[in-house]
Amino acid sequence: MSSLVEEHEVVEQSDVLTVRGLTVSVRDKILVEDVDLTVGPGERVGLIGESGSGKSLTALSVLRLLPEDVHARGSVRLSGIDHDLIGADERQLSRIRGRDLAMVFQEPMTALNPTMRIGDQIAEAMLIHRTVPNRRAARAAATDLLGRVQLPGVARAYPHQLSGGQRQRVVVAIALANDPALLICDEPTTALDVTVQAMVLDLILQGVAARESALLFITHDLAVVATICQRVLVMYGGRVVESGPVHEVFTNPRHRYTQGLLAASDLDSAAHRLPTIPGNVPAAGNFPTGCVFRTRCPHATDLCTTTPPWTGPSPHGYACHHPAPELVTVETKQGKFEEVADG
């Protein structure tokens, strides 16, 4: 782990987001533990993991929008901001939110105020931060933004008059309104149909590219991450278990969880029976000590009761006592992972 930190310290100044040792807990239960995370300028980083692995909590900690009794420790720094976001007060935070740091949430149906017109909700984002001179300019900018997410002419509509995909595009427009340095998307397309998902993903990517914003993209869908991200972090049980460039992680997973996940989600090439990960994802706070995956890991030994150290000075790192062997030649023919791992 320390090596990773060192490696990134070199470029620390230029990183948009730097999270160090983030631990999120509710009362005595630890939900997210010791997460490190950096996002470089213009970089697109994916955060994947199954339900309950702590992805949303991580994202919300960055914005400091955690539910009331949930607390975050560690350090969250944003380039250009001279204080740590953890420990900052509401006044400081509200200046950052929506301006340097924007977020798109999962549920498009409830993310918009049902009693306010779409245009006003977008305009508000700019008015709050005074990035436009006046109300009229804000309206014009809002209409413009709506046009760019391909929703011309809905400024005077109310949210309930739009479909889920359309609402999500409005949310994206709100998030991009002030050209944020970092856009965080928390499963923005999970609730959408594939065809609509394709469009929304495309819009997000275009928007991010046009503004040279960095993107932290949270999803449980490996294929989506593979499509839009350059780098990926795999979370399980509140910890980052593996991280690295998308191509490397997905073609040569080292952590046994990543490996299992890839195999289980690959429906296309698997035979009649799918490779599975035994057992279920434990409930929050019920993950085992040591290696969080050890109760479901076919390779677990006594060693796994100790927390595995972070391995990998290279961009591709993982935390596992029994990693899958490194492949020399990148094999894209699926279905071989298991064989390789067994070998």
């Binding site: 239960k29 999970t190 609730a191 706070g285």
Partner: protein
Amino acid sequence: MSGLGGSVDDEGGPVSDRGAPESALGVPASGADVSTGGGASTGVGGPTGVGGSALRRSAGRRLNPSLVVGGIIVLVIVLTALVSFVWTPYDATLVDPAVRLAKPSWSHWFGTDKFGRDLLSQIMVGSRTTLFVGLVAVGVAAVIGVPLGILAAMTRRWSSELIMRANDLLLAFPALLLAIMFGAVFGASTLTAMVAIGIATVPSFARVIRSGALQVMRAEYVLAARAAGRRPFPIALRHVLPNVTSLITVQASVSFAIAVLAEAALSFLGYGTPPPTPSWGRMLQESQEFLFSAPRLAVFPGVAIAIAVLGFNLLGDGLRDRFDPKLEDRR
């Protein structure tokens, strides 16, 4: 984690035309916290994907103070009532001019009233009346309101509409009015007054139960039961009713508090519990002459009423929190 947990909320189609006001109307005319959920939340018509509300809800549930305090108060009242059947310091209706208006002392802990009756004994026996009052009112309301609510949720559009309209109509007859009119027709007694209060409480029961039952009816296990061949009546009995019991309990304890207050108000107006049955409401009314000379005559029953109402309200709040994980942190 109850049957009416957030899971059902996650589902559901586009907001119906009457969705918001109806669930909003499902609140009693008085009382404590009410869940007003449903109105504002829009559902998604699409696949939820790997959305994770499932595990989130298992997150820790503390004993909430409302429930504990409310429970203890109610328990104390029930115990007092039970004890009063076998033992009270004095016969609560025994008139003894020799000790009238006695101050609190070792022989009469709370003192005596103008008839020389022991206040403590009256308070104790009065708790019986209070419980009786609540049980009758809530019983009537539940026995009529719950089936009506379930029926309204399970039947077709027009018949359920009819039930709910009738319900609205009943809402136009406030509890106090009904009680006074019932008293005039059937003679003033605690029973008639409370039956009237109960009837006036039917609408709020029916509404709450209906919206709960509607949620249950939307759940897939009802569909599964139908696919297994269950008929509507057994479904109502085995699936809907058990899954709205939490709502019934909450509504019952809030209504209980309202009934206790209503009895006090009626007694004040002279339409409540007739003498000599001890009742807190009447004690309070009788104490009026003595507000200056012996304020304690008003203090004891007044405090008793307030505590009882508080207890049932807190219990209701506590139960609501407990049953509805969405409202987990309410107090």
